[in-house]
Amino acid sequence: MMRLNVFLLVLILCCALGAVTSQHKARKLFQEMEAEQEHARRLEVEFGQLQLELSTWATSPRIERIAREKLEMRLPEPARIVTVLPAGSGDDQ
């Protein structure tokens, strides 16, 4: 009878310690998950900011200015434009 009691006592101690460690592990993992989620949020914010930056750099007025001034591009005169139509469209231009 005494032995059984000692055995049960040891068993219950093990279980208790197990519960404590798993709780601890769970909290650790939870915090890790929190950190990752925070990271994801921050990346999303950064994505938004980068998207904003991208569209600010890519506005049409800026593209046109660079094309005209820096690259000295311009529209060809109508006479110098050759239109290539898809085959079978039946146009003779």
Binding site: R27, S55, T56, T59, L75, T83
Partner: protein, 583 residues
Amino acid sequence: MINSGGARAHKFAESPILELGLPAWRSRFMALLILACFVVLIARSFYLQVLNNDFLQEKGESRYRRDLEISASRGRISDRNGDVLAVSTPMRSIWYQPGGFDLQPTPEQMQRLAGLLEMDDRELRRRLASDKFIYLKRQLPPETGERIAALKLPGIGQDREYRRYYPTGEMTAHLVGFTNIDDKGQEGVELAFQSQLLGHSGNRSVIKDQKGQIVEDVGSIRLPRDGRDIRLALDSKIQYIAYSQLKQAVEDFKARAGGVVVLDTRTGEVLALANWPTYNPNNRERLTGTQLRNRALTDTYEPGSVMKPFTAALALEAGKVRFDTLIDCSPGRLTIGGKTISDTRRYGPLTVAQVIQKSSNVGTAKIAALLEPEQMWNMFDAIGLGQAPGLGFPGEVAGRLRPWKSWRPIEQATMSYGHGLSLSLIQLARAYTVFARDGDIIPLTLTRSDELPLGSKQVFSPQTVREVRAMLEMATWEGGTAPRARVPGYRAGGKTGTAYKVEGGQYVRKYVASFVGLAPLSDPRVIVAVMIDEPTTGAHYGGDVAGPVFARVMGGVLRTLGVAPDAPVVQADAGGDAEQERL
């Protein structure tokens, strides 16, 4: 009772107190007193455990449990190709809540805070002297917010909020609109689609340890719902073409205002909508009502001659005239009911097509005389006059079309060439979809739609439309009113309008020059409507003022859309009149 002769020691049983023979009520009184104490104790515990349990539980939880808000962001607005037109990024606002602490910030801390807030030291002190909650500064970049938080000043806290940015700025200001500081739509699409754009923040309850770290979630989590992204039908390249050409024209002609609308004739999508004057939605200080007005949608005007093709189409449809029926337009004047209609020039007999090509008021009035007022009203009604265009846009107007029963003959005549009724530029552009399509009118949409529109309504027969398109093309030929509206490489057609403005019920010598046209005529894809309000230098005719804008916008749009040219390239007009084409 005193035992005088015995020993001095007492036996336990014979305590002298007992021998005093105290009255019995005293012990009973004591017992009652003790009982009363127990009753008080039980009552108190009942009070705490049962009656006040919730309150105390909550108080206890508040020591370790925190409710956190999970913020959700407002949806983005992008153009049809996914280019961002409006986006929210998180910002911080710094507030001050006085009271409850006596820790005074050191002068050095104050200086740092003032520096971070970009605020004068004295101004900051003045604000901190407040005895109410105040915002010290709103919409600071998140990095600055973190640095302020690191100062750990008592009473100073921060909120997370969003700021809306509009990378395309003034170009799309009227259509996209803007939000206020609390992220609520105030104008334009931001207001029209507020309920969809709005994000719904969630919340969660957590247990925090004393270091402020979240230990675990308790209770249920309500997930945040980000606002929906809105994809407009707008094409930012086309918008840029329309905007820059409009701006140029308004400056060249020193006009008061102007508007351009570009429609896709197949889907009814609004590809561009530009107004001048405009404003920068990212910096809205010194904003005036004039700048804010989205004229193309919220202002009506008397359109003038651009309505003539509808009269001609109706007469063709009713079989009253044919394409080449001669109408006598001499001597350039026509008197109806005591009022005189006149032409700018004295034309002789003109065919119906020439009446449109040369935009003869007299000719149109004579064609209208062949029609019943009710017929005309039905047609105007069918093309959307007097009805809001149904875009769901804030402030869109219906224009004015009076019931036909109250028309006098002179009014029927003036309405045939676009006076005595009013509409907005977008209504005008939409009305022209009947000529761009096979005689049916379609609903417009601001958002991108990949399906063909539902609810198209037949107004004219395809045969009538083909004839009217030929007339519209003639207007851009030599002898027409708008040779300058020709689009190199494409067959384009359209109609000019030069309308007198009405001020205080009187026509005044101020004009609205407009041009509405479609191209390529072999298979119309695009409608461009241009309106220039009060051009003051040089020309004021629609063909001279709005025509060139139309040509440049249309040329740019067709190239952007990759529409194959349908007109043999005429030898380029060598010389100074080379078109200043935009990319």
